[in-house]
Structures are given as C-alpha cells and as structure tokens.
Symmetry: C2
C-alpha cells in the first residue's frame, strides 16, 4: 500500500501538481503554465509538463517516479477508460490518452485520468466539505461550471463517463450563446463567466454608473470590479451579484429536482466571494425548489480545498485505483 | 420465495391493480376510480379502494391477501420509508403511509410504497425496453412529466427518496407558471399538458385555422385535436407536435449533460403518439446535446408496458423487498 500519491490538475491556464498522503495532507506542490502546442501529437506538450512536474516532486521527496500512484484531472469529456474525447479549453490534448503518455515516459503503470470536476467531488467527499455525505453535488464556478455528482456515496459516471456536465444544463431555452454550441446553458448565467456577461449587460444598460466612472467607461467594467465593489457594499454591484446568486439557485434547484441532492459544495474562482453569493442563493432556493418544504434542509457550503480540490482528488484517484 | 406479487398504481384518476409473475406476466388486472375524499383520514379513502382491489384479485386467483407481496406506486414526493410527503394530484393522501394502512387492514407485512415514476423505470429495466441497460432514464409524458433514473443498474433515490422529479427541471427561467409553484418547468412544455398549452397558444394566435374551424372556435381546440390531425398529416398540427418534440429533446439533452444517460424510455399518455414525436426529438437531440458527437449513440425508445409500467414496477418492488 502506497503512503503517498501525486495528483495533477490540468486547467486551461495552469497545471497544478500536489504530493498527498492518504489523509489528504499536501506534502509538496508546484505549478506550471499549461502549454497549448498543437505542433506536436495530441496531448504530448501537456504530458511533457506533467512528466516534469512528477519528476521534480519525486526528486524533492525522494520518491521513485516509476512507482508512485499518479492521478490526472482533466477538463472536458473524459471517457471511462481515461481517453480525453473533447476538452474545449485544452484543445491540443483532444483525443489524447494522457495516462499512457505520462505512464510510458515514467515507466509507471499506475497513472490514471479522471474528469477534474469528478476529482474535486472525490476530494471533498473523502477529506473535505462533503465528508460523510452520501448524496451531494460538487459545483465548480469558474469561467464555466464544472461538476461531480456523488450518489449513495459513489461517483456518478454515466454511460461514457461524461456525467456531471452540469454547466451545460439549459436553463433559458434560446438563451445566451455558449461555447459548447448550445444556448442558455447554466454556466452562461451563474459562473465567473456568467458574472462577467451579466456585468457587461448591466454596465451597458447604465446600471453600473459608479463602476463605469471608476473604469473610464461602461465597456471597461469587469466581473472583478463588481465583486470587489460588492465587498465594499456598493449597492449597484450587489444587485449584479444577487442576480448571479439567483441563477446559481435556479440551477441548484434543478439538480435537487432531478437528483434529490441534499448538499452542494461550491468551488471554483467565484467561490472566493461565496460570502456575497451563497446567503442569497440559499434564500432563493426555497422559492425555486419543487416541494422545498417537504425536503430535509438543503445545505450549500463552500469547498474545503478551493483551487486545490481537483489536484487532491486526482491524487485520491491514484490511491483508489491502486488499492 | 413468492411466485406472484400484486402491483398497485395510484394515479390521479384511476387505481390500476395487476397480479404479476416473476417474469413479468400479468395474470390478472382490474381498475377503479381513484377516490378524492378529504372527509376521512389522510389516505384512508385511497387505501379502502386498494384493499378492495387486492382482495378481489386474491379471491379470483386463490391467493391469501395476508401473504402476497404488494407494491404500491404513488404519484408525488415519496420518502424512502414509504411516507407520501406530498402528492399534488392525490391531495387526500398527503402525509399518508399507505403501506401501513393497506398492510394493517390485510394483516400483510409485505406491503411497500414507491414513487410511480420509479416503479415504471424498475419495470422497464427488469422486463421491458430498459432491460440490460444500466444507465437510462424513464420519462413519463402524462399531464406532467414523471421520471425514474437508473444509474449503474440501480435506481437513484436521492437523499429523501425524491429523485427523478425531472418534470420540474426549469428550462425557461421566468417561463410558464407550473402547478408546483415554479415557472418554466419542463413539464409545461413537453408533456401532454404542455401540448395542451402550446396548442391553445397556437390556436389563439390563429396558427391552427383548420382545427379552429372544425371545433367551432380557436378556444375549443385541444391537444387531442392536434395529435389526431397530425396523424392524418395536417401540417398546422404537425408544427405544434414538432415544437413539443423540440422541448422534449431539450430536456433530454439536459439529462444527458447531467447524468450522461445513454438511453431514454418514453412512457405516459403522450407516448401513444411516439411515432409523431420521437423521430423529430431524436433529430433535435444532436444539436441540443453538449459534445453529442463524442458520445455513443443516444437511444430514445418507447415504453414496453405503456400505462401498465407503474403497476408492473410496483409488483416488482413487492418481489424485490421480500427477496
């Protein structure tokens, strides 16, 4: 039985690597830019960075890169066998089998891939805010919305392994265009990207006069301006965040209807302002959830591991699949 | 081990009872009107009818009503322990424990309740269109939309037991008012009730001139007029059914995103015109599903057991819980 595992979380901009013990303690950590190099084979540029990270973590901790269990969290549609079918934010790795590329280079037969939202859900379930909770949904509010569903203590994988793409649930038929090709996806309203979009709409309608003045024009107002001004209590900014909170609650209510989830763990960049978003989302959830009064209390909480949740979960995948 | 079980399916208008063998063969069947009597205790009027049905089926088949396993399928939010928390179309049974009322009267300790959509999913999974398929969703298109989710071969129950309320997934934020108190629920667009609503809208906009003339006024045109005229090929009616098909596909695409379901079994009254609805829904699904081209083919098929699916599944629950 291994005492430590390495978790790698490949995002659109950064690739985070952590060395983790079985109780979830992080012994080492490093971060590189994610390469987007289409001139080599699918996933090869990504693999090269990950291999470097593993070697560096192993060298610093006196570990053999050929035997340490390794999990790789990847953004996008990941098949059950670890094949990355499609990653809109990591196009150079579309169609890659990164566990093979990394495993072959290191001579390591214990390298495993998993969707990043699923990794985050697993980490929170094992060590964090979802510990001991058998029916919950991990909701990652970044540029888009990622997710991972735990049902009766198990990760829901679905037929291909693609389950948990909750950000692409349509909540506004014929709504705002989404990068996936669809319209009205939840992530166009309730994510960091949704905040950005709603901010621009509000600014151009003249509803953010103070921020427009500060920025020297409505067209320059950004989502970050709204969150920092809302933290200071600026009412016009709070209005936009309340709208984001309402959209967040709407999607959560849908997940309650479908899954009877009783618990949501909110992660991702937008969760940094969870104090401004979650109280309002909790209030709205009552009105938006079918049969709310007959359900046990629905808990919405913040991720324990924040931006590290995916990497920690990837390490957990390494432990679980070598158990 | 019991050779037969009784399944009871309590709908808003009828209570169907079937006597079923372990291979799903129906040996006997009867139907009564569902009572809506608030003057007695919660669920007592319903229980009286169900008890009568069990006794009659047992008498006709030489069975002991005290020992035959009995499953009861109920519409609404049913807790894991069989308690009916809330049933909008069976208000007189709100808060009832029908398995206890029926079991006590018959001296039968093998009476079990389950949500009707879940019952239908179980029946189709065991004996019908979902046989051998480990990730599918049962979608019941009646006045509303009911459902049951099978994930990795198991019924998804959720925290309270309420999972599968797919009809109350919001697909149009701030959309059409729904009986649940919400707005824009899927069942206001893609069910028999949705057809009725879309028909009325189309008729009042003058888009169903032939049907309005046949009925003596746009306000008299009903969903049934559209389905029968569409069967005859009337284009104005086909337009309305295509709209219903699009909405059906939209909700199915959401379930694919969330659950990575690969298979849908469509039941309920509207499935009687599945030849007119499902081909179009299949066509639309490709454009509405995130990452459609990377998924294995998504199958949309019609329920094997139609209006009997719930009762058959209830009998199956009787078998399973006495196994």
């Amino acid at each position: 039985m291994n005492d430590v595992a390495i978790g790698l979380d490949v995002g659109g901009t950064k690739a985070l690597a952590v060395l983790v013990t079985r109780d979830g303690t992080v012994l080492g950590e490093l971060k590189r830019d994610t390469p987007h190099d289409d001139s080599v084979g699918a996933g090869e540029a990504t693999a090269a960075v990950l291999i470097d990270e593993v070697r560096e973590l192993c060298a610093a901790n006196n570990l053999d890169p050929a035997t340490v269990p390794i999990g790789i969290g990847l953004p996008g549609l990941l098949r059950n066998d670890g094949h990355l079918a499609y990653a809109p934010n990591l196009q150079s790795a579309n169609g890659a089998d990164l566990h093979e590329l990394v495993g072959d280079a290191l001579g390591n037969s214990t390298v495993f891939c998993e969707n990043d939202g699923n990794c985050a859900a697993l980490a929170e379930h094992e060590w964090g805010a979802g510990r001991g909770i058998n029916d919950f949904v991990m909701v990652t509010l970044g540029t888009g919305i990622g997710g991972g569903i735990i049902s009766e203590g198990q990760l829901v994988k679905g037929r291909n392994g693609f389950a948990g793409e909750i950000g692409h649930m349509v909540v506004v038929a014929h709504g705002a265009a989404c990068g996936c090709g669809g319209h009205g996806c939840w992530e166009r309203y309730a994510s960091g990207g949704g905040l950005q979009r709603l901010t621009q709409e509000a600014a151009l309608k003249g509803e953010l006069p103070t921020l427009a003045q500060r920025r020297g024009g409505a067209e320059h107002v950004r989502g970050e301006d709204v969150t920092s001004a809302a933290s200071e209590g600026l009412e016009e900014a709070l209005v936009v965040l309340r709208e984001v909170s309402w959209w967040l609650a709407l999607g959560l209510a849908n997940l309650v209807a479908i899954l009877d989830a009783g618990h949501f763990v909110i992660g991702g960049g937008l969760s940094a302002v969870s104090d401004l978003v979650l109280p309002e989302a909790r209030r709205e959830l009552g009105a938006l959830t079918e049969g709310y009064q007959w359900r046990d209390e629905i808990v919405i909480t913040t991720s324990t591991f924040g931006p590290r949740a995916g990497a920690l979960g990837a390490a957990l995948v390494g432990f679980q699949r070598t158990a």
